[in-house]
Symmetry: C2
Subunit: 460 residues, 2 copies
């Protein structure tokens, strides 16, 4: 076994520094979730296949990791599945469980299963890994964390207001300032499609409109025509191409455009309510923007749609997104439960913070003080101080092996250096006799001789 | 779809209260790991099957959850695997990945894979779920967390000393006082087997000796004889049956017994070193005990063996365990890396703390203050205070839907009650006009009218 071991493609090991940085982001998100009144739940890594299959479309079904049944799993398989060597037919016969593909479906399952114990509206958050058999590529992994907050059991738009504030609170706390929270409303999109008489072409229309930045009005028109949207229809919504100004200005244009669509006007009123509330309450560092081209999750969102982009100048897709789904738990038989939720893209947030150099030094601080090991007697003396420091909440460690030569001494110093330990204690025979410890500040190069209590006080 | 959804047997959903309690334990363990200088790593949930298979014995191989290959996984299968319907032969052809079975093997893999980036001795901790296709039963699950700390790359016995202290620190912080840390040494067990001339019967001998408490000296002797250990051999180690007194006393008896065994004497000296260090440094609330019958992990431990039992009176198996393995990374081709580590049994620790009523109230504290929603205008006014409170680090929430009737009011109060929210704010028209908020202390039943700044100050 001399080949170096490896891990499956699309998965990652996280080094101490990476875990520390990820924890910094996750702790910040968790703290804000809690400030906003969300409660944590956790669900199993694998669910019954029936819970997951058919919930993410055909593509999703393919990307779900299936777990092989234990034991002699072929015993119950019907013969023709072999004969045909038909993987699709065989899978349900040899696999009953599958790895979680996202946190939303398990959440819906949780709500339905525990509905009698839950106090509604239920504000839950969940931060756990999910797995997808996607083709791995830069920034896309087969195992990654999702950080979701959702409320289920109320239609109130105050929740949308809160989610805008929550994004602002998290990114402001992370010093990731000037992110843009883009908002749209599914009802506005439906209204547009209605007005142009092409409700069946809503997705084609939105996809084309989304390219306005890149291919300009002419390009968009061309694409829409190619998709079978008439010139007449396009003319009707020409004002969308030049939509600009404040949130309010843009809403004004939309109001004129969608005056005849009841659904469209409903969407506009929802956007208006949320924007008014946010304007009156203010945001710390983020900006709320209307983006009529935003069509994320068009298949399931029924009201507000959110997406967060990194600060300008950072090339990165969205770092968060979410929206409202009128019927979250219907798939498991519990009707009329409206939900709204948002998600934070941990891996991308990590990359943005890294690129902007915004990880605070404290985030990756390791051990505070390192004790050189001069031999068993001295080590015992060192351990007295180390025990006291740890009980005072200061991280401390002793090099396990004793210095027996200059080379050994150098090895210990290298160890302390490479681990970036800021303080070093030398306690040899001399210090033991004097009941003292020599404390070195590595950055300043200074040193002082102190008692055990002074040592604790100095490092506290 | 009207059947209530469920989760796979042996897995669990964790409610907000359970997550909070689990987090309290895990955060305590994590903090102590860090105080002791351990660094966190994380490894993928699934590994290449070749990394895991063959590392846990035949039984282990069976209990590892295998992941079905994606896509048309039957395409490459050789025909005869079907013809024979041979699960064992088919598995490696349709599954290349498997869920982590423990944290030790992935750690060994990590060390070998990243050996050039690691500063040795490497003190790492890891707290992640593992999966085993065990038959579920009370307290045994198919998905559960392991919380491990290990050091690799040094033989120093100071590490064993530190692990005893670490157990003491964690359990003392959890107020789980008077746990017993039982210690043994593989070399002592080998020495005993050597002395009685039955090195090949070491396991039979230990298993029988382990029953001393239950079946007495006579029963143990009978079982040993049945296993083919001679009466003469048993007579030689009769003193083990009556081993008692302090750690030092017991070591004295062992010294006499094992005087002729070099390996045995080595084990005794190791135990002596650790016990002397712990006696001189002291423990906060735990007790260190010698237990010659402790044979946990006999197959892989080569030096110290640890096991922690819950405080007397609590019926529970071990709540922690560990030991030294001379060759941790050899399985992946990196020789001569001695490791020593311990593990905390999260689920059992949870049950013990629950049984003894030791979860502190703060551990499960949720939202601090709840705002009644009297309508959109009032809600907007409430949100001003809520935003300010959250920015001050105080968790606060608004009921999303407005009070429109007495019934609605009662619903909001029930919600606040069931969530155990200790403070409640009423801010209706009257308060808005006066720029005030009415703050109710739910436990005391008292209330006062305050400004927004006074509100923040009162709840801080």
């Amino acid at each position: 076994m001399s080949t170096k071991p490896s891990i499956p493609k699309g998965t990652r090991d996280f080094s101490p520094e990476e875990v520390a940085k990820r924890s910094y982001i996750m702790n910040t998100i968790r703290t804000q979730f809690q400030h906003f009144g969300f409660q944590p739940i956790e669900t199993p890594s694998f669910e019954n296949s029936s819970t997951l299959m058919g919930k993410y479309g055909e593509e999703g079904d393919r990307l779900i990791f299936k777990i092989l049944n234990s034991g002699d799993y072929l015993r119950k398989v019907k013969d023709d599945a072999f004969a045909k060597a038909d993987s699709t037919a065989l899978t349900p016969q040899i696999s009953e469980k599958a790895l979680r593909y996202d946190l939303t479906v398990p959440f819906a399952r949780y709500v339905v299963q525990h509905q009698n114990d839950i106090v509604f509206p239920f504000k839950r958050f969940q931060m756990q890994p999910v797995w997808r058999a996607d083709r791995p590529q830069k920034g896309r992994f087969r195992e990654f964390y999702q950080c979701d907050a959702d409320v289920v059991g109320s239609d109130s738009l105050w929740q949308e207001v809160e989610f805008v504030q929550l994004y602002d609170a998290v990114f402001s706390t992370l010093k990731l300032e000037e992110v843009t929270i883009k908002m749209n409303n599914r009802k506005v999109l439906s209204g547009i499609a209605e007005v142009i008489g092409a409700s069946d072409k809503l997705i084609d229309f939105t996809v084309a409109l989304d390219k306005l930045d890149k291919i300009g009005e002419e390009g968009v028109t061309k694409e829409m025509l190619a998709k079978g949207i008439t010139q007449e229809a396009i003319d009707k919504v020409a004002s969308l191409f030049t939509l600009s100004g404040t949130f309010g200005d843009q809403l004004g244009t939309l109001k004129t455009l969608l005056a005849d669509s009841e659904t469209g006007m409903e969407g506009i009123n929802e956007l208006l309510f949320i924007n008014d509330a946010i304007e009156s309450l203010g945001l710390q560092t983020a900006t709320l923007q209307l983006d009529v081209t935003l069509a994320r999750g068009l298949n399931y969102y029924t009201g507000a749609i959110f997406e967060v982009s990194a600060p300008e100048g950072v090339k990165m897709g969205s770092i968060g997104g979410g929206g409202r789904y009128a019927d979250l738990t219907g798939i498991f038989g519990l009707k009329d439960m409206s939900g709204v939720g948002i998600s934070f893209g941990l891996d991308r947030i990590y990359l943005v913070i890294e690129e902007l150099g915004l990880f605070p030094e404290e985030a990756t601080e390791g051990v505070k003080v390192f004790f050189v090991n001069f031999g068993d007697q001295e080590a015992g003396y060192a351990m007295q101080a180390i025990s006291k420091l740890r009980q005072a909440g200061i991280s401390a460690e002793l090099y396990p092996d004793a210095v027996t030569s200059n080379k050994q001494m150098k090895k210990q110093m290298t160890y302390a250096n490479r681990r970036n330990i800021p303080f070093l204690v030398l306690a040899g025979k001399e210090e033991m006799d004097a009941k003292q410890y020599t404390l070195k500040n590595m950055a300043e190069g200074s040193q002082e001789t102190v008692t055990i209590d002074e040592l604790v006080a100095a490092l506290k």
